[in-house]
Symmetry: C2
Amino acid sequence: MNKSILFNKRPVGKPTLDDFMFSSAAIPVPEAGHILLKTLYVSVDPYLRGRMNDTKSYIPPFELGKPIQSGIIAEVTDSKNDLFKKGDFVSGMLEWKEFQLSDGSGLNKVDASVTPLSTYLGLLGMTGLTAYLGLTEIGAPKPGETLVVSGAAGAVGSVVGQIGRIKGCRVVGITGSDEKSAVLKSKFGFDEAINYKTTHDLREAVRMACPDGVDIYFDNVGGEISDAVLANINKHARLPVCGAISLYNDTRIRLAPRIQPILLTKSATMRGFIVNDFSAKFPAAMKQLALWLKEGKLTHAETIVEGFENIPQAFLDLFDGKNSGKMIVKVRED
Amino acid sequence: MNKSILFNKRPVGKPTLDDFMFSSAAIPVPEAGHILLKTLYVSVDPYLRGRMNDTKSYIPPFELGKPIQSGIIAEVTDSKNDLFKKGDFVSGMLEWKEFQLSDGSGLNKVDASVTPLSTYLGLLGMTGLTAYLGLTEIGAPKPGETLVVSGAAGAVGSVVGQIGRIKGCRVVGITGSDEKSAVLKSKFGFDEAINYKTTHDLREAVRMACPDGVDIYFDNVGGEISDAVLANINKHARLPVCGAISLYNDTRIRLAPRIQPILLTKSATMRGFIVNDFSAKFPAAMKQLALWLKEGKLTHAETIVEGFENIPQAFLDLFDGKNSGKMIVKVRED
């Protein structure tokens, strides 16, 4: 049988397991031009929360009763399409199903001999591209500058910090546990790490960790953490806004000190983005990331959960910060 | 005698006449290398309010007991400096004095035969440069896009709107009276004008005035007016923050809906600036502005107040929106 995970109801506030529903059907058979895909790895990402709201955003909302979609690595198990053969591995935005048909559009072949397949959801996938392009295109890091990253132990944050180091920045990460703080420094080479949950005065902690001020703030979280960093920015600071995980589950509009006077007195730039804003630069970025990975300059970090039925819980765990690096559900061995 | 206006006390909230103090001294005599300047026109600008606070900003605060400074057009009445001769007109950041000495540093000669001298404080001065460079460098207007300008009848706003029209944008101005609204359309060529003081639902008014959404928001005011525009921005909107006149007199930190989710869902860029951020582009910008002025594509707008003793009141009047276009105090005939 072929299990699917459907969108059952729109969450108000924090999502729960009830928002998802399992269903079962026969494994389909491809017609001419189509391929059958077997799901191997599923990416769960904070931005999916946005698609669960019935509001216009950068991508359309999920439809009730239809399968959830996310980045997936799959194996071609049957092909009636000349561009794909049985045994090929592909990555793409696919549905949360064990097996599914595709006409091949939007799929990229990936090479299991170069790196573990899950890497194509992380460092060599949207995660790596988001980190690299957000940091380089908006952050524009220069040697000797100070880069602060929030959500630093997350999928994107842990890559941003490493690239910041490669670019010659002093890198300070903000995260939610002492364990993650230690990992940021020992595994990812961050210069300093701050555990916001045990820090009494975060604004002061950022000031202490950044004696020369903050030139770049790569924001994954929004919220009060970002206010504390904003209080420490330098003139001409660049502030890529990649995510706002601390706000995604809000049921009311949250207030903050007005941003205009801060940006004005510092001649600072704050820019929201999604990775597709930079799609023209994907090939060059991918090449650079692959090279750094090969050279050992980038370390890959994953939290792997096993089993198709655990996809919803893995997604929910993101909002409790249970992942370190990229959260991936392994559905089957490749 | 030679009158000066000194900074008497730091205002808390809205400035008053008591914050200024007049003093008198003999007219000084230049030594070798120096010139004597007679003040003709004085620019009063909202940003001066920031220098009255004892806080680090993009320019140092005014010192108590010392003269206030702003953009001034002066005539050289005595010269012991080979670079200047008696009768030359200059513009520069000078002190609020009827007469003052200078070694010539930071002064630009201006030509009274090309345009009235006061133009060098407005369209061909910092005002014009701020409007042109903020709009083109950050706003990056494209034909057919929609540009919204707040503080639209002010010195910078009225120029921004006109340049937006030259660049082929639909231009909507937000201002504080029906009279100013009418002027925006009849004199400066704005497509639409909104009087925020008589508009019940500003967010809806902006939506109606911008049926295709807002691509560029040139923000001179900060505050709730900006919130209403932000609710209507398009994907990839650009938001130059030029001023925040509605917040300058605040005595407490003002709250607003968090900006990060707005910028994120729209892939929008908000950037604070001062004109000096673009100083490398001043010569080219000045050339363009002078050409448009000559071609009659830009209309100059000034509110002229007469008399040295009226400088402080003219400054205070800015915060009540009593000016239309550039507020200038004429101290003496040129």
